[in-house]
């Protein structure tokens, strides 16, 4: 009985820490995005709220809190309220299985970095959750009872479903290489610079492009294409409900970055052998160093997401579908077959 209590306490503490980290990451990404875009456009960006504008995201959220919360008369009220919760909830839930470091021993117990990084169906869990994430946006579009929102929601569901296939197939290559669905095992398999990006370059590109489509980021941000759809699925949302979609978008970006880092870029593996810098296997300091490593990787990848957003224009809808079904899907299949043949021969 006592054991279960400890496990629950541990999970609770980790959940609180990780939830806070995600919200902070979203805030940081909002700030980075605004600064990054400003620099790319030869502007200065936010510099009024706090030193160098660092408090800008908090000011934004505070503003959203103070706004009136409008639910349209003709909307389906319950679904309208549910949609942002699904969006944000799914984003946060994905982090449950992402390993943020190797396990370490503390007070006679093995503690894993992450809420449940050792789930043996980690990848399936993530794929299932991202599919649920589609509901957030689709329900938001449908329940608003607004034609633009509906179009945005429909687009996003079509887009996410199309890209989920090639995403899943790209992951399949990684699973074949590492022989496990457990994310921690996949990371362990990449030790010593044997990153999956070297073994699966094609799969990496497919996964990267699909990740952009999954997170609705430019060049695939069709669900919220302002010029044609007003605001897309979140047209009818105000106040903190809009804020939740907003946070979910940035949270999604962090999630996708974490996935890319975990699956292809060595996850929490330190760039050098930990024993060279005096960190012992299974120690707390090593775990913290690994946590720092994956956070840096996530931040760099998020910066890449932002950089692409301010470089590449939005795709047209038919181009998006063509790319998804006629290019990425066959390439992903080819990747799986090639991986299989190579593994059979070696």
């Amino acid at each position: 009985m006592e054991e279960i209590g400890w496990i629950l306490l541990e999970a609770l503490i980790k959940a609180i820490v990780i939830f806070t980290m995600i919200l902070l990451a979203a805030a940081t990404l909002v700030y980075i995005e605004r600064k990054f875009s400003a620099f790319i456009q030869n502007r200065i960006g936010p510099n009024r709220a706090g030193p160098k504008g660092l408090l800008q995201p908090f000011a934004d959220v505070l503003k959203l809190f103070m706004k009136e919360d409008i639910v349209p008369d003709a909307a389906n009220k319950n679904l309208h309220r549910l949609a942002p919760i699904i969006s944000l909830g799914v984003t946060v839930a994905v982090y449950a299985v992402i390993p943020l470091g190797n396990s370490f021993e503390l007070a006679g117990r093995t503690i894993y970095m992450g809420i449940a990084p050792n789930v043996n169906i980690g990848i399936l869990f993530i794929l299932a959750l991202t599919s649920v994430g589609v509901y957030g946006i689709t329900l938001a579009g449908w329940s608003s009872n607004n034609k633009y929102s509906l179009l945005g929601g429909l687009r996003s569901s079509a887009q996410m479903i199309s890209y989920e296939l090639s995403m899943g197939l790209a992951i399949l290559g990684v699973i074949m290489v590492s022989g496990s669905l457990n994310l921690n095992d996949i990371v362990v398999h990449q030790s010593g610079w044997m990153w999956n990006i070297l073994l699966q370059p094609l799969g990496f590109i497919i996964f990267l492009v699909s990740a952009f489509a999954e997170t609705n980021r430019t060049p695939f941000d069709l669900p919220e294409a302002e010029p044609e759809l007003v605001g897309g699925y979140n047209t009818e949302y105000t106040g903190m409900k809009f804020g939740m979609f907003f946070l979910a978008e940035y949270g999604n970006m962090a999630t996708s970055s974490a996935l890319i880092a975990t699956l292809y870029l060595g996850g929490w593996q330190l760039p050098v052998n930990p024993e060279w810098i005096g960190l012992q296997e299974g120690s707390v300091w090593l775990a913290l160093a690994q946590l720092a490593t994956i956070i840096i990787k996530i931040l760099l990848l998020s910066c890449f997401f932002i950089w692409v957003r301010w470089t590449v224009p939005r795709f047209r809808y038919d181009q998006l579908m063509n790319l998804g079904w006629k290019v990425l899907l066959p390439l992903a299949l080819l990747n799986v077959i090639a991986t299989g043949v190579v593994m059979f021969l070696i």
Partner: protein, 165 residues
């Protein structure tokens, strides 16, 4: 018809059709842009000083001896937005007419400068004042007290008018 097809698949070569190298090039361009100098003006602290040719808030010129305006009403007549209201009165001085009431409704003013152009006395001219904030409608109707500005502050505009008007 001797017309060449000009569609995407013919215009682009293999690498361009792959998108990725071109995207990488584009990202190189945006990356370089990040280190270029910025031209942002930190407005409230760092203000812009307009030139003499700038058409800001219309004002009345006040000389050391008194106002220039003779209340002929031409500005009020020419104003396309009907923003100016003038009421004349008489004095015992040599210049016997003066405006007892001169009001410009800044909510109506469109900064066209016709009043300045039509004024025979060069009494109403456009100033450099460009940031006007009013908290109420009444406050936006400027009377003589807020319109009259000493001539010493208006040299730029007067020189400009003498040269180009």
């Amino acid at each position: 018809m001797n017309r060449k097809e000009n569609n995407e698949s013919q215009r682009l070569n293999f690498w361009e059709k792959l998108y990725l190298p071109e995207i990488a090039k584009g990202m190189g361009i945006t990356f370089r842009q990040m280190f270029k100098p910025k031209f942002t003006r930190q407005y409230p602290e760092e203000r812009w000083e307009p030139l003499g040719s700038y058409r800001g808030r219309p004002i009345l010129v006040k000389e050391e001896t008194g106002e220039r305006c003779v209340a002929c009403g031409l500005c009020s007549r020419v104003c396309p937005a009907l923003a100016i209201e003038v009421q004349a009165a008489e004095t015992e001085k040599i210049k016997e007419r003066y405006p007892i009431k001169f009001e410009i409704n800044m909510l109506r003013c469109i900064f066209c400068g016709f009043c300045e152009e039509v004024c025979p006395e060069e009494a109403i001219i456009m100033s450099k004042d460009y940031d006007m904030v009013f908290a109420s409608h009444e406050e936006a109707i400027l009377g003589k007290d807020r319109l009259e500005i000493p001539i010493a502050q208006l040299q730029d505009r007067l020189e400009y008018l003498r040269e180009y008007k």
